[in-house]
Symmetry: C2
Subunit: 337 residues, 2 copies
């Protein structure tokens, strides 16, 4: 039995290209005692993966060269020599960019069984998975919105941003998104229920973007969930209210090494803002509560999400490169079977 | 009786000049019922005053034109038609740049009587006044240092910075200062007891300043008290530890309108930092505790401070312009009698 897998074979400078990856065919080995074999159904592609392709200092170890690309996956247990999981279990874990994940006993605690009765398996990589919990943590533990406040989120049609806005609405806030293009903006308002969405592509300079934010946020901005950085952050700071909070989750504008200076950091002082970076994996104690809430909302249809699904393991690098350019809509997945 | 006072007559563009100010001689009026007359002994000059000279949006109302420059003062009550204060009381308040302050009944709650038995009157404008409380709040309420951590402060020889470092040392931290010139740096270590002080003038570029911080902070930086901004903040971020905190108190590098972009805001995310601006006047509930602690430390000689004293009301504008250029050492005062 053959296991197709993608290795990172060179570190990108600037935008990744398909030459940074290599498709490798490896045999699926015989299971040893304590191991579990997962046949993967979906792979998650996430912007954070670009950061891990660099060799520099970051919050996580770099992705090793000539090894399977790491990443979240969902699938089904097809063989088990462990008491932790049974054949047929639907599971979520860090299976990487490959068709089969052989899970060592030491890694089993990082996998969990999921219930697909009311929540589709793929959602455990999105709204009821890491992206959803990221939205939940940044909003509830850093922005801490109060009813009546205005919350802005960039990459609002994405897997994280779309959840941020819907949770902010549920908390009684005005939710304003930023997204690229009229189709995404329309969906952010009509599908996800935001009060407004700004197409940042129509506002390529600070003055124009700031004016658009002023119109969309007549009471100013109290909370900002940052996925992008660069010009958008500059424009948000110009409209930030006193005591506003910025949850820094990602800065995709700089993921390929572009400089993304903050023009006027003195506004953090003038507005007595709190700007805080966070990594969702460091909020593990909050995951059970967040997953329970998000799972309930998805199961009852109150939390909407979109997926962009690339077909087949071969499509992964191209889909990932597209993700960094904003070509996806909602959660970017690769469907393996 | 004549009351000499300084009015702001035009708003500076860039560095203030003496032509922005005008010395006015006004009569000291007859006291009305409820009023108090304070003969002022010392005026406080503070960097924040530069910001108030602008007309733009900030956390405080701009300094009005053709009116007495606002600012903290200490003095003695020389006439009173109020039950709140008696002739002979030593008081601290916002008396402005003038020899006599006529305090209206509505303003009396913002003045307080001080005890000069063990603490000199002038110290109530410095280590036991607004600058000292600023240090106390930024350190204890935002940086929240733990014993063994490293705390860095810019403008370390100043009225605020010198207190930050001494309180950090008392909390069991390594205290590292940044100051301009060898004399200030020597005093920061020898008088104020910091573990190290970097002369930023010897490190005019990011690489050099970052290397100096690396040497002075071998365990990285856990807390940073920001008074300056610009290159120093960029260099600090390069040495910041995971979960480090920045208390943004002032950014004097940009007070004259210079752009002070933050080169790499993504480091806030990478290091999961908290960057928070604050204004000491918004922490009023903490003032009594802070003043009690600071007063006790000064009275017992455990908290050291320096003063630069300009002589006479006429000297105020020149002393203020010098303050913005870092010509002072410690608290900048104007002595009026």
């Amino acid at each position: 039995m053959i296991n197709k897998q993608w290795h990172l074979v060179s570190r990108p400078t600037g935008e990744p290209t398909s030459s940074n990856f290599k498709l490798v065919e490896a045999p699926v080995p015989e299971l040893q005692d304590g191991q579990v074999l997962v046949r993967q159904h979906f792979m998650s592609l996430d912007p954070y993966m670009r950061g891990r392709m660099n060799d520099g200092k970051s919050y996580a170890q770099p992705q090793p060269l000539n090894a399977v690309m790491q990443g979240g996956t969902v699938g089904e247990v097809v063989a088990s020599r462990s008491t932790s999981f049974q054949v047929g279990d639907k599971v979520v874990g860090m299976g990487g960019w490959q068709q089969y994940a052989l899970v060592e006993p030491a890694a089993l605690p990082m996998w969990r069984k999921v219930d697909t009765t009311h929540v589709p398996l793929s959602a455990y990589l999105g709204a009821v998975g890491m992206p959803g919990v990221t939205a939940w943590v940044g909003l509830n533990k850093i922005i801490e919105p109060k009813s009546g406040e205005t919350v802005v989120v960039s990459a609002a049609s994405g897997a994280v941003g779309s959840v941020v806005g819907q949770l902010a609405k549920a908390a009684g806030c005005r939710a304003v998104g930023l997204a690229g293009g009229p189709d995404k903006c329309r969906a952010v308002v009509e599908e996800f229920g935001f009060d407004a969405c700004i197409d940042y592509r129509q506002h390529p300079d600070l003055k124009s973007l700031s004016a658009a934010l002023k119109e969309a946020c007549p009471q100013g901005i109290d909370g900002y969930f940052e996925n992008v950085g660069g010009l958008i952050l500059d424009a948000v700071l110009l409209r930030a209210n006193a005591f506003s909070r910025v949850a820094m989750c990602g800065m995709i504008a700089g993921y390929n090494g572009e400089p993304i200076p903050l023009a006027a950091p003195q506004l953090i002082l003038v507005n007595r803002m709190k700007v805080q970076g966070f990594i969702v994996s460091e909020y593990l104690p909050h995951w059970p509560q967040a997953l329970a809430e998000l799972g309930g909302l998805v199961a009852t249809g109150k939390l909407k999400y979109r997926e962009t699904i690339a077909q087949g393991i071969e499509a992964a690098p191209e889909a990932f490169i597209g993700l960094l350019k904003g070509k996806n809509f909602g959660k970017q997945l690769v469907k393996l079977i």
